[in-house]
């Protein structure tokens, strides 16, 4: 069998996204204004092609598996995550197009950056070894830094970009150290070989116990590096400011697609490589508890919807970390299914909320305090219901996708004897329910204030995006999952 066509077809989603990024860069140069206007549609086309080829791959009998000497792994898990990233990017494009028009900041490179970041995510989630992982992560992150500071004239946006950049490179260094240490001990950068080494090779070596310390050190550095990217406490300091400071659609992208990709590979590492009992169970459980608790308690105090979501998005990273802590002892596919489903649910509801904020906060995002949208549901019943659905789903109320997501993760914890962790997690969900419901309640508070003028009617693009998010949040739990 000829290897080349398979490697072309199996990575088709990635090729489409890369081709799209390059096309978009050219589009504006060649066609100026017309190219700029066509940018969202062109981006969407390439993303839909990528999504389509992901779905084609999912429908195949038998996955290609490891390609390029094992540096890329195309299996059900990575293709599902690719699709989630492409979905997140598509939603971001839909939300951005009217947002950028309103803010008078339409450019072609914005969309090219989204596609580049998506390409990075796709490489990241399909990585089968550490260097591919790093390349994907950096491509995704660099595009992300620029997106966070896209409104460079706004102080908060610039601040967000700088913070994001500084902590980002800092965490990359940790990650690289971790990779170096693991390579130093095992002599490999491949996930599967590393796992074999830890299980079989290492115990046979003289002084195995002291060698094991380096494995622990490497894993710890990886946790710190990836922990920064997904904003696990205590490495989450940057997240609220960045999600709050960046433009709402970008925040949505950073907290869904970027986070999903980083968590995707994080989960693969702990489900497939470090899946034997080890100190990482306690470490991840501790991080999970810290992240959930700090995120939720900080979110409680917020009176601004966007900032509240910034903190709640930290808390949600904690829920995923519950699943990671429980990855030991569960079959890899069970862990990966739980994490992938959660990321899908989280993407749908969080992208929806940030899109909602982008719409409702008005020009310059001036009105995102709770008091600004009091009684909004009486003027825009459909949009009010949409936000209520997203918030219910985030709070984990049935039968929303967010509930199923939490259910699968907490089930992992209980199945692996971490009942206490599940209890902490549900108590955190309880705290989060308070601030989500309080936010949802604002929609239905009758005020004497005059209706805020200037809320533009929903365009078709926005309608489609909200429709996908609402419908997805409602029914995702009942869909047949690819694996």
């Amino acid at each position: 069998m000829n290897a080349l066509p398979l490697e072309l077809t199996a990575l088709a989603p990635l090729w489409f996204v890369v081709a799209g990024a390059l096309t978009l860069l050219l589009l504006e140069v060649l066609f100026h204004e017309a190219g700029r206007r066509a940018a969202p549609l062109a981006t969407l086309t390439f993303l839909l092609l990528a999504l389509g080829s992901d779905f084609r791959l999912l429908s195949l009998q038998g996955m290609p598996g490891a390609l390029f000497q094992g540096s890329v792994v195309i299996d059900l898990y990575s293709v599902t995550l690719q699709a989630i990233c492409a979905l997140s990017a598509s939603l971001t494009v839909l939300f951005s197009s009217s947002y950028l028009k309103r803010e008078k900041a339409v450019t072609g490179e914005y969309y090219a950056l989204i596609l580049l970041a998506t390409a990075g995510m796709m490489v990241l989630v399909s990585a089968g070894e550490f260097l591919t992982l790093f390349v994907g992560l950096e491509l995704m992150s660099i595009a992300g830094y620029i997106l966070a500071g896209y409104f460079r004239n706004k102080e908060r946006s610039a601040e967000a970009a700088l913070k994001y950049f500084l902590t980002g490179v800092f965490s990359s260094a940790f990650l690289l150290y971790g990779i170096a240490v693991l390579y130093g001990v095992s002599g490999t950068t491949h996930f599967s070989e590393l796992r074999l080494f830890i299980e079989k090779g290492l115990p046979a070596l003289p002084g195995a116990a002291s060698q094991m310390v380096f494995i622990y050190l490497g894993a710890a550095l990886l946790v710190v590096g990836l922990g920064f990217k997904v904003a696990l406490a205590p490495f989450h300091g940057w997240a609220p400011d960045v999600y709050d400071g960046a433009a709402a659609p970008v925040s949505g992208f950073l907290s869904t697609g970027v986070k999903a990709a980083a968590f995707g590979i994080f989960a693969r590492l702990f489900a497939e490589v470090f899946s034997m009992p080890g100190p990482w169970v306690a470490a991840l459980a501790t991080l999970a508890v810290l992240t959930m608790t700090l995120g939720n308690l900080s979110a409680l105090a917020q009176t601004n919807l966007k900032r509240m979501l910034a903190y709640s998005s930290v808390a949600h990273a904690g829920y995923v970390a519950v699943g990671l802590a429980a990855a030991t002892g569960s079959p890899a596919d069970v862990v990966e299914r739980a994490v992938a489903f959660y990321l899908l649910a989280y993407t749908l509801m969080t992208a929806g909320v940030f899109g909602w904020i982008a719409w409702a906060s008005g020009e310059g995002e001036k009105n995102s305090n709770f008091s600004d949208y009091q009684g909004l549901a009486y003027r825009h019943p459909g949009m009010g219901l949409a936000l209520a659905v997203f918030l219910f789903s985030l709070a984990g109320m049935t039968p929303m996708a967010g509930f199923f997501g939490k259910y699968f993760l907490f089930k992992l914890a209980v199945d692996n004897g971490l009942v206490w962790l599940a209890v902490v997690a549900v108590l955190n969900s309880f705290v989060s329910a308070y601030y989500y419901l309080r936010a949802a309640m604002q929609l239905y508070v009758r005020t004497d204030k005059e209706a805020k003028a200037g809320l533009k009617p929903i365009s078709w693009g926005l309608f489609t995006a909200f429709f996908i998010c609402v419908l997805g949040s409602l029914i995702a739990g009942f869909l047949k999952f690819p694996f």
Binding site: P381, M397, T398, Y407, S429, L437, M441, Y444, F478, F481
Partner: protein
């Protein structure tokens, strides 16, 4: 098929009502849907096999095959009456809202609530049960949050948080239970015998969810505000239907799944039940807002139901179940009347009323009629349930039974006091012509007035279908494993037989 229809029709109806382009027809449409559901639900009674103690009308389809979660429904004698109560009350609630509510969301929420309640009652898969159980919160959120009174924000958040707190801990216990048994099937789980300490924690976790819903004293903090702030229809759904699911949960899950823990906790729970009974009664006497009086009296009467369930005797269980049905009927009637009165008067303060018996004789008669059922006058619904519970409670703990009688004396006092202030005496100073009940209102009250007498006069009609299921699904589970303690098992069986004899001749 019939159970799926009872869940699916209201669900489809809710969707249809919320998407239907003509808002004016949504009232009629929603009422029609609920009426069809009620007619279908009668099939449950006519086709119910009295000799079968297990689940009937079973259906099962895959829901999440990877985890073994099924859409599995079925009802037994325990859930039969609660399903029928729900399908019976919902059309009346919808009809009751015609006067005050025009928005489609109101009607859609009520239908969604019906689907969730019937779904929770009919689920024989634990995951499915949890889905429906939590789904109830969403329509409740909208009913109180959108159409509630002045303090609706606080009332909604408090109500949802209280119930979610219990449910979330139940979720962990549910995860544990299904992990132990490796199945979500209720029948399999009920046959599993859990270790004693696991039973202890699971009973508490499941129990918390149900005790908050019932609510058991001192977990009732959500109740007064939620009942008072909700619109009349919402209060009916909460007090007549939703809190019954708490009691149902105790009967279905807490007691049979964790019998050792249930027996260990029973004395304490009975004390709390009586404490709630008295607390509710005392608080009811202190209120000036008559909807609050009704809210506290509802709380007080729920204490009696829990007392009955935790006697673990057939008489007590039957009494508790019968009391659930009667409480559902008379509380629904009283809260619907409260809604009609506030439509006429614009206030719940008793001082704003007075002398209504002369202005609105029909309304006054209906109120008195339902009050008689609530107070427990012989011949009316409340009486039989109360007697059955008190008799069986007396055998377990005579002091508690005697104390709880105090609650009924109070109950008569505050309800007649309420009647006096509103319907007797001089006509209120702010004079305004008050119209009597119209045809729609009489039509919707009539079934309730009939049913409270019917329950009172022929309780066996209701008791017979539940007897076998209570015996097999609850009492049998409470017996210790026979190989271990033959003597104790015999004692229990003799006791149960004796109870059964008494149960037949209340």
């Amino acid at each position: 098929m019939i159970l799926s229809l009872l869940i699916g029709l209201p669900l489809a109806g809710a969707l249809l009502v919320s998407l239907f382009p003509w808002e004016k027809t949504t009232k009629a449409l929603s009422f029609l849907v609920s009426l069809v559901v009620f007619i279908f639900s009668l099939g449950l009674y006519t086709q119910f096999d009295l000799s079968n103690a297990g689940f009937q009308f079973k259906e099962q389809y895959d829901l999440v095959p990877a985890l073994g979660i099924h859409y599995a429904v079925g009802i037994d004698g325990i859930s039969l009456w609660l399903v029928l109560l729900t399908t019976f009350l919902v059309p009346l609630v919808l009809l009751g809202g015609f006067g005050s509510f025009a928005q489609r969301g109101y009607y859609a929420s009520i239908l969604l609530m019906e689907a969730a309640v019937v779904g929770a009652l009919a689920s024989t898969d634990l995951f499915l049960f949890y889905l429906f159980w939590e789904l109830m919160l969403i329509p409740a959120f909208f009913l109180i949050g959108l159409w509630g009174g002045e303090n609706k924000v606080k009332a909604t958040i408090r109500f949802i948080l209280y119930t979610m707190f219990g449910s979330l801990l139940m979720l962990v216990a549910l995860l544990y239970v299904t992990h132990e048994v490796k199945s979500f099937d209720y029948v399999k789980i009920a046959d599993h015998i859990f270790a004693d300490d696991a039973q202890f924690w699971c009973f508490l976790a499941f129990g918390l969810a149900f005790f908050i819903k019932v609510p058991l004293f001192p977990l009732h903090g959500w109740l007064p505000e939620a009942y008072t702030e909700a619109p009349a229809g919402g209060t009916v759904l909460l007090s007549a239907i939703m809190v019954k699911l708490g009691a149902y949960g105790l009967l279905r899950f807490c007691i049979p799944l964790f019998p050792v823990a249930a027996k260990a906790f029973a004395p304490w729970i009975m004390i709390l039940a009586v404490a709630g009974l008295l607390h509710g009664a005392l608080m009811a006497t202190l209120q000036t807002n008559f909807k609050k009086v009704l809210a506290y009296s509802s709380l007080s009467h729920m204490g009696l139901i829990v007392l009955g369930l935790f006697t673990f005797s057939l008489t007590g269980l039957q009494g508790g179940m019968l009391q659930m049905i009667s409480h559902g009927a008379y509380m629904a009637g009283l809260f619907l009347l409260a809604g009609m009165m506030v439509e006429r008067r614009g206030s719940y303060e008793m001082s704003d009323f007075g002398g209504w018996a002369r202005q609105t004789p029909v309304l006054a008669t209906a109120f008195l009629w339902l009050m008689a059922a609530a107070v427990g006058l012989p011949g009316f619904a409340g009486f039989v349930g109360e007697i059955l519970v008190l008799v069986s409670a007396y055998q377990v703990n005579a002091v508690l039974a005697l104390i709880s009688i105090l609650g009924f004396i109070f109950s008569a006092w505050y309800l007649f006091n309420l009647y006096g202030k509103i319907f007797l005496g001089p006509v209120s100073a702010k004079k305004k012509t008050i119209v009597d009940l119209n045809a729609r209102e009489i039509l919707l009250l009539l079934p309730l007035l009939v049913i409270v007498v019917f329950i009172g006069l022929s309780p066996n009609f209701f008791l017979r279908p539940m007897e076998k299921s209570l015996q097999a699904n609850v009492i049998e589970k409470l017996k210790p494993a026979p190989a271990m303690t033959d003597f104790a098992a015999d004692q229990l069986r003799l006791q149960a037989d004796a109870d059964k004899e008494k149960g037949k001749h209340p």
